[in-house]
Symmetry: C2
Subunit: 644 residues, 2 copies
């Protein structure tokens, strides 16, 4: 039944996520998953189909031709990526169906799967763009056209749908396609030595392997990881074959797609942010499955480079619209931040996979930071509109949209939220790691036992978490590791009322309780959760003299709806007296207020010789994820602050 173990080559210490069916989520994420399940999942199909995607996939419909204009010197249209949008929408629907069986939604998914079944070529190939719009050109431009990326997202959708419904049809279709890809790519004679221009297939193949128990998909994932960036560069060779002039690649450098050097040599996160984080996710998965420590220096170096020099306080990354990605160290502009929703979503993916080697707060803290802030901001509270960019400052003109020419973010974030249960835990042979806290119930296998864990908590409203083991058939020795967030100013832990000395049990930011568990134990973790100011490195020039406010995992912001306009005229006192108030508005959250000064100006001149006058006022902060859910207005994360 648990196929995962049957393919594992990683050591017993390798950690893998539970399957979605193993964790039932309530609390903070419960209503959000309900919204995805009952509303967003349907909407994704509506909007994909409105955009014309099913017309492209279904071979029995008239060919829609080009609907979205080419860009980048007439080589690419986002229409080439439509399979991925369907893949992610099917994945979202699959997770939705766990929670809310819905015959109508299931029928819609089956219709799309049926179209793909009819589309699939004799040899297993499956790509609606190349089969219907540009036939005969398959495998000629891996660099730009997301061909293998599309395959990956369809596979992830197929795995999820199989696990949700038990229906194998889509999984079989995609397994056939994966088998076909296995014959096409590799280092054998007559095989293409290519790899995805936009990574994604690597991590999808690991999922496919875990779901099917087929190690050959792991081998293919590892091939793609190993081959990337080898000399000669495949994308350059491929461009020559296409007759492309030297230097015609619109991004100039293969850093854009992280094929500029072999992945094991990489230490700096560069290029397109989503490509980067998907690649590193696949690398981490390969490390976990093959216990391949040769990937560790790269993974650690890339992680450090991101988190020490290139990560927004919201867990956003990639400041630039030009390459949808990274620029130079400490380049973290606020108003113009690109910080694509998909990049924060992918950072959750990467961080969760870095936990494959075991609990380590460096990864789970960032996973939580990206999840609750830069990712979650990407969807409105009603589940109907979406941010593509997630700036940390707005003059009032940045709003979520219904749909986008490149609609990658809505289904990506939706599938993450709908599957959040799988991110809460990490499971090894003899250890359960609790990475995230959320009201939930999990049933998992550990130490050859079936163990039930119930989390009771209002987290992130407050930091008290009760974890209760269900009854065990017989006592079992295993470890339970509980994350103590790096932001916590303090924490206490008790097992059945007996206080635990945290320091004595702390490893990599987790309290590790290894003992014989008898079942029924009640663990109470109390994490101090008070408003805290965050200060940025002096190289982040625009954040100097400013502070960001956070409480628990949530980054806060000033919003026009509470604070009027000219938010850059708001000044925190050096030692703000914060007041926290739980309110029901905006889905329920803790509002934070404090006294502060507001600057007033007398004239409308662009420049003046006198400083503004100041008056005392109140500053009211709301969680960043919740902004732009009321009337339009300014927003600001990094707020000016008086010095001591």
């Amino acid at each position: 039944m648990n196929k995962q173990s049957s393919i594992a080559a990683g050591s017993a210490a390798s950690f893998r996520p539970p399957q979605l069916r193993q964790v039932t989520v309530g609390g903070f994420f419960g209503p959000r998953i309900d919204t995805i399940a009952t509303k967003t999942a349907h909407m994704l199909f509506d909007r994909c189909i409105e955009a014309g995607m099913l017309d492209q996939v279904d071979p029995d419909r008239p060919n829609p031709g080009i609907r979205i204009p080419f860009q980048h010197g007439n080589t690419v249209t986002t229409q080439m990526f439509w399979d991925s949008d369907f893949g992610k929408s099917i994945e979202t629907a699959a997770y939705a169906l766990y929670r809310h069986p819905d015959a109508e939604l299931e029928r819609r998914v089956d219709d799309v799967i049926d179209a793909y079944a009819r589309l699939q070529a004799e040899d297993g190939y499956l790509n609606s763009w190349y089969q219907r719009i540009q036939p005969g050109e398959r495998w000629t431009n891996l660099r730009d056209r997301h061909e293998l990326y599309n395959a990956g997202h369809l596979m992830e959708g197929a795995v999820a749908y199989f696990q949700a419904t038990g229906k194998r049809r889509f999984l079989d279709i995609l397994s056939r396609y994966a088998d076909h890809i296995t014959t096409v790519f590799g280092t054998g004679e007559g095989q293409l030595r290519g790899y995805p221009g936009h990574p994604e297939l690597e991590l999808a193949l690991v999922k496919l392997a875990r779901a099917t128990g087929e190690r050959r998909y792991l081998a293919l994932a590892k091939y793609f990881v190993d081959q990337r960036g080898q000399t000669p560069n495949y994308f350059e060779e491929e461009a020559k074959v296409r007759g492309e002039a030297d230097g015609a690649f619109w991004f100039g450098t293969q850093e854009y797609n992280q094929s500029h050097e072999p992945v094991r040599d990489q230490r700096r996160i560069v290029g397109h942010a989503v490509r980067a984080t998907y690649l590193y996710s696949g690398m981490a998965d390969v490390r976990t499955e093959f216990a391949d420590e040769t990937l560790t220096p790269a993974l650690e170096g890339l992680w450090s480079h991101l988190t020490e020099k290139n990560l927004y306080v919201t867990g956003g990354l990639g400041p630039s619209a030009q390459n949808e990605g990274l620029t130079f160290d400490y380049d973290l502009p606020n108003a113009s931040a690109y910080a694509e929703t998909c990049a924060s979503v992918a950072l959750v993916f990467w961080a969760s996979r870095m936990l494959g080697r075991g609990p380590d707060r460096r990864f789970s803290d960032v996973m939580e930071q990206a999840l609750y802030n830069g990712a979650l901001s990407g969807i409105s509270l009603d589940g109907e509109t979406f941010f593509y960019e997630n700036p940390l400052e707005s003059r009032g003109d940045h709003h979520r949209w219904r749909w986008h020419r490149c609609p990658c973010c809505p289904p990506n974030l939706s599938r993450l939220i709908a599957s959040i249960g799988t991110y809460i835990y990490g499971l090894a042979k003899d250890e359960i790691a609790v990475h995230l806290y959320c009201e939930s119930e999990a049933t998992v296998e550990v130490a050859s036992r079936t163990v039930t864990l119930t989390q009771r908590t209002a987290y992130p409203r407050d930091g008290r978490v009760e974890i209760e083991f269900g009854a065990l058939e017989a006592p079992a020795r295993f470890a339970l590791s509980l994350r103590i967030p790096g932001w916590a100013s303090g924490a206490t832990l008790a097992v059945d009322g007996e206080a635990i000395d945290l320091d004595a049990h702390m490893a990599e930011g987790y309290v590790r309780l290894e003992r014989e568990w008898r079942g029924g134990e009640r663990i109470v973790l109390a994490i101090e959760m008070v408003p805290r100011l965050i200060f940025a490195h002096p190289n982040v020039g625009n954040d100097q003299g400013r502070a960001a406010l956070a409480r628990g995992p949530l980054v806060y912001c000033l919003e026009g709806a509470d604070n009027g306009s000219f938010l850059n005229g708001a000044v925190l006192p050096a030692e703000p007296a914060f007041r926290c108030e739980a309110i029901d508005d905006l889905g329920g959250f803790v509002r934070i207020a404090c006294g502060g000064r507001r600057e007033r100006y007398e004239t409308g001149a662009l420049y003046r010789s006198t400083p503004p006058s100041r008056e005392e006022g109140t500053l009211t902060f709301v969680p960043y994820y919740a902004w732009d859910n009321r009337e339009p207005g300014e927003m600001l994360v990094w707020v000016r602050r008086e010095a001591e």
Copy 2:
């Protein structure tokens, strides 16, 4: 001899600049002009010729073909603009030859002129790109390919060279070309109703008319102004003729080239900054020459929109690299400011032409602001390297370059500096306006007298200016108008020792002394020049809590060479005690220092929970124009400041 009056239709109150030969400049600009004359002017020819420009112009040389790749969907290469680079280089050389007769430089100019003479078509047409690289395509893409823009710069060069050397050959060549253009463009039968995609020819034709006394060139300038933006839009019609798909224009909107509506309807500065300011310069010239007040609401509205919502404190404009131009109101980011050197140069052009209706400090203050800061920063003190972008903050990686694929800025700024004498004064029938202060000697015609004015001043080192009239043959009644800068906290004026009540004589920011002058009068103007802080409108979010420092017309900055790194950790006290010190370094300037705090950080983490510690230190400011002339390092204009 003074041809200008022979073409004037404007009222007697119209003000025109003196010719270069009428003003000899020393003081602040003297050594800078010497550097241009003895070094930069030669270098411009070296680098134009190295780039291959003469190969393209000279019909007797092998055709060089495409040297600079096409961009914008393969429609444009900056190589199409090479004639303009030669035009501006010839203009620079002409001004250089006034100051330093130089047979070698004159021969180099003559060689280029000779090539143009041989290139010119039978019908007068003259454009090296269309005659040699894309023959047969002339007048098919006015929007993108700078065809009329090139004509304008060649004309400006021809006028300057004629005035400098008395040689008519190049002027005659360009007059023939202007005559040809007059036959091609217009509202008559069979004529093209087009106008420059990149404005420039309008103001050049006014120069040509003033130099040749030919009113038909004024009429053509007015036609281009009047026709621009009429319906149907010429560029859209022209694109249809080329078979270009609807919406294929890479900038989407004709706001990019200011043809989105008739110029008289325009009130908002939009699009490409240099195109905009060149256009408005031509509009102001047409207003002056035709006394056409129907242009005034547009010129005033555009001016207000720029100066009240879109102008950097340095006199830079156009924050965005994407369109090399304007974006939205108050969008004035510092580190990423595009603020092209050419745009500040062109703002000097526009402001000077807004003075065609008479002295008005609104225009001359901005002319001075752009000149001394955003323009002058564009060239190194040694005259050998150039900025294209002029950000107001640098992390230490922004440096002047030797040359650029689009080398518009070096000759543009060089010709401005070398001709700065013509911007100092405005001349009307019975009035001399002194717009700028600089050690200089001028001989001008006013009230039918030849009048000599000598300015003795160390301006902008200090604000004391002595102006002495030379002897007059006979007393003459005319007005002398002296600008009192808007930034001055005070000023006194005396004529032959007799104090003048400024308020009683003030008009539009000028002290207007209308009297019978006998010759030999000595006027002493003392403008208070103390360091002052400037504060920005609250809508400029990134400048809040910060101040810029200026003294006289000069904006100052912190530079790494004096202040080390982490300049955003420097904090001005609320009431800084500034110390001014005249030093000889960097060409001589007044250095300003004050006490201030510097923040120190204990760890290298990207985010931390404790604010930085502070220590007292000294902040040392240098003029913005002088930055990046020592070792590489950070630079910052808007400096954090303690509140009161």
